[in-house]
C-alpha cells in the first residue's frame, strides 16, 4: 500500500510542519521538501513498470458500497504525481524563504503539505468515491490557503468565492460520479467501460463536467481564479497554476476513455475551452498586477487543455499531455518569479517595474527561460504548441479549435514578452530591488531549465512518461513526440502568433491603462454576487417567516400540523366503537366529572395557587384512574409526583409575580376553540386506538417469564428493574441530570449575576 503510506506520510508531515518551522525558522522548507523529493524519486523509479503494466493497490474500506482504498499509478497519475511532488518540493523550499520572519510560516507550510497529500490522493485514487474525497480535501486546503491572510477583506472574499464555486461544482461532481458508478456497475476507475451509448450519458456527463469546469476555472466559472491570487505567491504558483486547478483537466483526461468520443463531449469541451481561452487571454492583456496577468493566462491555458481533450484522438491526447507539462513548468516558474520580484521590490505593478535584470540577474534569467517556453520558442513550449495546432487542424471543428488556439497563442506571446522580458529591461525603476536568497531563485531556475531541457529530449521524455500519460487518455496511443515536423501549416500558425503577440505587446501599456480604468466586476462575477445576495435574502425571508420567536406561533403550527395529519389518517377509518357497549359505573362518572371540573377550573383560575391546587386535583384523578384500571404502581408514582409537583410550584411562586395581563376575550375564545378541536381529535384518537390491535403484544413474554426467570411477582417492577433495566438506568440518569440542573439554577441566584442575562 505504498500510495496510502505516501499520502498518510505527507499528512503526518503537515502536522509536524509548524514545529519544524519553529525549530529551523526559514530553513524548515528545505528539510520538509525531502519527503516530496523522495516520493518524486520513488515514482520516477516506477516509470518502467508504469509503461509496462501500471501497478495497482487495493485495500477494502467499505466494500458494501463499493468504496475501497484503491490506488493505481498509470502514466497520467505518474505525470501528475511527478509535478505534484517535484514542484511541491521546490515550493516548500521557496515558501520557507518567502515567509522568512513571519510567525505564520509554519502554518503555511502545513497547509501546503495538507494540499500536497490531498492532490496526490486525487491523481493516485482508482476509486471514484475515494477520488472525490481527496478532491474535496483539495478544495478545503485551497480555501485555507487563499484565505491565509485572514485579516484582509479581499483574501476572505476570494477564499469563500473559491470554496463556493468549487464546492458547488463538487456537489454536482459527487452526483455525477455516483451516477456513473451505478451506470457502469463499478466504482473502480480502471475498470470503467465506455458509457458513450448509455441512456444516462448526457445527464452524468453534464454533472461531471460542471465539477471539472468549476475546479479548473472554465468560463463562466473562471472568475474565482484571479481572485484566488490573494493567497501568498508560493500558493498561487503551486495550487492555482501548476496543480490544483488542473484537477478538473485531470479528471476529464482520466474519464476520457469512459465519457469521451461523443459529439456532446467534443462540442461541450470545445465551446467551454474555447470561450475560456478567449476570455482568459483577453483579460490577461489589460491587467497590471503580475499575479493577475499570470492568473488570467492560467485560465486561458486551462481552457487550452480542455479544448485539446475535447478534440480527442491521438495527436490531441499527446498535445494535451505535453502542454500540461510545459505549462506547469513555465507558469510555476513565472509565479515564483513574480513572488521574488514582489519580495525584492515590494510591488507587482508592471507599470512600475523595469530594468530589474541588473538588480535581479538570476531571477531575470529564470524568467527569460520560462518566458521563452510560454512564447513557444523554447523546446518544451514549442513542442506542445506544435502538437496542439496539428491536432486542431486535423479535427472536424478545425476552424473553431485552431482559431481559439491562435488567439490564446497570441495572448501567451504578448504576456511572455511583458513578464519574461520587458520588466527586466530598460532603466531600473526600483532602486531598492535586490536578489533574494537561493531558496527564492532555486525554484524558478530549476523549473525554467527543465522547461528548456526536457523539450530537447522529446523521445526520452515520451518514453519516460509522455506516452504512458497519453495512453491513459487515449488507449493504444501510438503517436510520437518530435521537435521538427517540417514546414507545415502548424508551424506557420505558431510563428504567426508569436509575431502578432510580440507586435501587440507594444500596445501593452495602452491596454493596461485602458483596463485599469475599468474597475467594474466582470459579468460572471456579478452573477455570482447576485446569487449569493439572493441566497442570503431568501434565507432571511424564510427565517423571519418561520421563526417568529413566539411560542404561541410555534405551538399553533405544531398542533395544526398534528391535527391535519391525524385527520388524514383517521378519516379513512370506519369506526367500530359506536357499536361498543356504553359500559360505565357511577364512581367512574364521578371521577370524570371531577377531572373535567379540574381542567375547566385551572383554565379559569385567576390565582396561581388555585391553579396549582386544581392541577393537583387533576393529577390525583389520573392516579385514581390508574387504580381503577389495574395499575397500582402507576397510581403510587403519580401520587408521589403530584405531591412533589405542587410543592415545587409553590416554592417557585414565592419568587414570582401574580398572574397578570389576561389576554383579550377574542384571543381567549379563539384559543379555546383551537384547544377544543385539538382535544376532540385526541379523544377520537383514543377511541380509534383502543380498538386497534396489530399482532401479539410483546408483553406476553414478560408475563410468562417474570416469575420463572426473574423471581418477581410484580411484573411491572420486574420489567423496570430486570428486563428493561438499562432503560431505567437511563431514566435515573435523566432524573439526576435534571436534579443537577435545578440545583445549579437555584444556586446561581445567590452568586447574583442575574441582570446581564438576555
Amino acid at each position: 500500500m505504498e500510495p496510502l503510506i505516501a499520502v498518510t506520510a505527507i499528512f503526518a508531515l503537515a502536522l509536524l510542519a509548524p514545529q519544524t518551522s519553529r525549530l529551523l525558522a526559514h530553513r524548515a522548507g528545505w528539510l520538509l521538501s525531502l519527503l516530496p523529493f523522495g516520493l518524486f524519486a520513488w515514482m520516477a523509479s516506477l516509470s518502467p513498470a508504469v509503461n509496462a503494466d501500471p501497478p495497482k493497490w487495493n485495500q477494502p474500506w467499505v466494500p458494501e458500497i463499493g468504496l475501497n482504498l484503491a490506488f493505481r499509478l498509470d502514466g497520467l497519475a505518474l505525470l501528475f504525481g511527478l509535478l505534484i511532488t517535484g514542484i511541491g518540493g521546490l515550493v516548500l523550499v521557496y515558501a520557507g524563504e518567502y515567509m522568512k520572519g513571519d510567525p505564520r510560516a509554519g502554518r503555511l507550510l502545513s497547509f501546503l503539505l495538507f494540499f500536497m497529500g490531498s492532490m496526490l490522493g486525487v491523481v493516485l485514487a482508482d476509486n471514484l468515491i475515494l477520488l472525490f474525497v481527496f478532491w474535496e480535501l483539495t478544495s478545503v486546503s485551497s480555501f485555507l490557503l487563499i484565505g491565509f491572510n485572514s485579516d484582509e477583506e479581499g483574501s476572505r472574499r476570494g477564499a469563500i468565492q473559491a470554496l463556493v464555486v468549487t464546492g458547488g461544482g463538487g456537489l454536482a461532481l459527487l452526483a455525477g460520479l455516483v451516477w456513473m458508478g451505478q451506470a457502469a456497475q463499478t466504482y473502480e476507475i480502471s475498470n470503467l467501460p465506455s458509457l458513450a451509448g448509455h441512456p444516462a450519458y448526457a445527464g452524468l456527463f453534464a454533472l461531471v463536467a460542471i465539477g471539472c469546469f468549476t475546479k479548473s476555472a472554465q468560463f463562466p466559472f473562471h472568475f474565482w481564479l484571479p481572485n484566488a491570487m490573494k493567497a501568498p505567491t508560493p500558493v498561487s504558483a503551486y495550487l492555482h497554476s501548476a496543480t490544483m486547478v488542473k484537477a478538473g483537466v485531470y479528471l476529464l483526461a482520466r474519464l476520457s476513455p469512459t465519457l469521451g468520443g461523443t459529439q456532446i463531449w467534443e462540442v461541450t469541451l470545445t465551446a467551454v475551452g474555447g470561450a475560456t481561452m478567449v476570455v482568459g487571454g483577453g483579460l490577461a492583456l489589460i491587467q497590471y498586477d503580475l499575479k493577475r496577468i499570470l492568473a488570467y493566462t492560467t485560465v486561458a491555458a486551462l481552457g487550452t487543455l480542455v479544448l485539446a481533450l475535447g478534440i480527442g484522438g491521438e495527436k490531441a491526447a499527446g498535445a494535451a499531455m505535453a502542454f500540461l507539462l510545459a505549462h506547469a513548468l513555465y507558469k510555476g516558474a513565472l509565479f515564483l518569479v513574480a513572488g521574488a520580484v514582489d519580495h525584492g521590490t515590494g510591488t507587482r505593478d508592471i507599470r512600475a517595474l523595469s530594468g530589474l535584470a541588473r538588480q535581479m540577474p538570476i531571477t531575470g534569467f529564470a524568467a527569460l527561460l520560462a518566458g521563452l517556453s510560454m512564447l513557444g520558442v523554447a523546446p518544451m513550449g514549442f513542442l506542445a504548441k506544435e502538437m496542439a495546432f496539428e491536432a486542431a487542424l486535423s479535427s472536424p471543428l478545425a476552424a473553431v479549435q485552431a482559431g481559439a488556439l491562435s488567439l490564446a497563442a497570441v495572448a501567451f506571446a504578448w504576456v511572455a514578452f511583458v513578464v519574461g522580458w520587458r520588466i527586466f529591461r530598460g532603466t531600473p525603476s526600483q532602486p531598492d530591488a535586490h536578489e533574494g536568497s537561493p531558496g527564492l531563485w532555486l525554484g524558478p531556475m530549476v523549473l525554467g531549465l527543465l522547461g528548456v531541457g526536457l523539450g530537447c529530449a522529446p523521445a526520452w521524455l515520451e518514453g519516460f512518461v509522455g506516452s504512458a500519460a497519453a495512453n491513459s487518455v487515449m488507449p493504444d496511443y501510438q503517436g510520437h513526440w518530435s521537435l521538427w515536423h517540417g514546414f507545415n501549416l502548424a508551424l506557420g500558425l505558431g510563428v504567426g502568433c508569436i509575431v502578432l503577440g510580440l507586435v501587440g505587446a507594444r500596445a501593452s501599456e495602452r491596454a493596461v491603462a485602458w483596463g485599469a480604468e475599468r474597475k467594474a466586476v466582470v459579468g460572471c462575477e456579478r452573477a455570482y454576487d447576485a446569487a449569493i445576495a439572493g441566497a442570503n435574502r431568501l434565507a432571511e425571508t424564510f427565517t423571519s417567516l418561520v421563526q417568529s420567536g413566539r411560542l404561541r406561533v410555534y405551538l399553533q403550527t405544531t398542533i395544526g400540523t398534528t391535527l391535519v395529519l391525524l385527520a388524514a389518517a383517521m378519516l379513512r377509518w370506519t369506526p367500530d366503537f359506536p357499536n361498543r357497549p356504553f359500559d360505565v359505573r357511577p364512581h367512574e362518572v364521578l371521577l370524570l366529572i371531577a377531572m373535567l371540573a379540574g381542567v375547566i377550573g385551572a383554565a379559569h383560575s385567576k390565582s396561581r395557587l388555585s391553579a396549582v391546587v386544581i392541577l393537583g386535583v387533576v393529577g390525583f384523578g389520573v392516579a385514581l384512574t390508574y387504580v381503577l384500571l389495574g395499575a397500582p404502581d402507576l397510581a403510587m408514582t403519580q401520587i408521589a409526583v403530584e405531591i412533589l409537583t405542587v410543592i415545587l410550584f409553590v416554592l417557585t411562586f414565592i419568587h414570582l409575580p401574580k398572574f397578570q395581563r389576561a389576554s383579550t376575550l377574542p384571543t381567549r375564545l379563539g384559543d379555546a376553540a383551537v384547544a377544543t378541536v385539538f382535544g376532540a381529535a385526541m379523544g377520537f384518537l383514543c377511541l380509534v386506538a383502543s380498538e386497534q390491535r396489530y399482532g401479539e403484544p410483546v408483553s406476553a413474554y414478560f408475563v410468562e417469564n417474570s416469575y420463572p426467570l426473574a423471581h418477581g411477582r410484580n411484573i411491572v417492577n420486574v420489567i423496570l428493574v430486570d428486563f428493561r433495566g438499562l432503560d431505567t438506568m437511563g431514566e435515573i440518569t435523566v432524573l439526576a441530570l435534571a436534579g443537577l440542573g435545578v440545583v445549579a439554577l437555584w444556586s446561581a441566584k445567590r452568586s447574583g449575576g442575574g441582570a446581564s442575562t438576555r
Partner: protein
C-alpha cells in the same frame, strides 16, 4: 369505560393546550403537566383496558391468568411519569431563574425586539 377515558383525555389535551397558549410562564408549565398526563392516559388506554386486575403473579402460581392489564405499557408510562416530573422540575427552576434575570413572568417579554 373507554368513553369516559376518551372524554377525560380530550379534556386534558384541550385544557393543556389552552393553558400553554396563555402568556404566563407558569401557566405554560401547568399546561405542559396536563398534556403529559393526557399522553400517559392515551398510551395506557391504547393497550386495552381491564378493570381492577393488576399484572401481579399470585402466590403459588407461575403466571397470571388473563385478563389482566398490560404490564409493558405500565412500565413505559411509569418511566414517562418520572421523566415528565424531571422536566417539570427543571423547567420550574428555569422559570424562576428567568424571572430573576428578565424581571417578568411574561413569555413575550423574552423575545427580542
Amino acid at each position: 369505560m373507554v368513553w369516559l377515558l376518551a372524554l377525560a383525555i380530550g379534556a386534558l389535551y384541550a385544557g393543556g393546550l389552552y393553558m400553554m397558549l396563555r402568556k404566563t410562564m407558569v401557566k405554560l408549565l401547568i399546561g405542559l403537566a396536563m398534556i403529559g398526563n393526557a399522553a400517559n392516559l392515551l398510551i395506557f388506554t391504547s393497550s386495552g383496558i381491564v378493570r381492577s386486575k393488576a399484572p401481579l403473579v399470585p402466590k403459588g402460581a407461575k403466571t397470571v391468568e388473563p385478563p389482566f392489564a398490560d404490564p409493558l405499557t405500565q412500565a413505559l408510562i411509569l418511566t414517562a411519569i418520572v421523566i415528565g416530573f424531571a422536566v417539570l422540575a427543571f423547567a420550574l427552576a428555569l422559570v424562576r431563574r428567568t424571572y430573576e434575570a428578565v424581571g417578568s413572568g411574561g413569555l413575550e417579554d423574552m423575545t427580542e425586539e
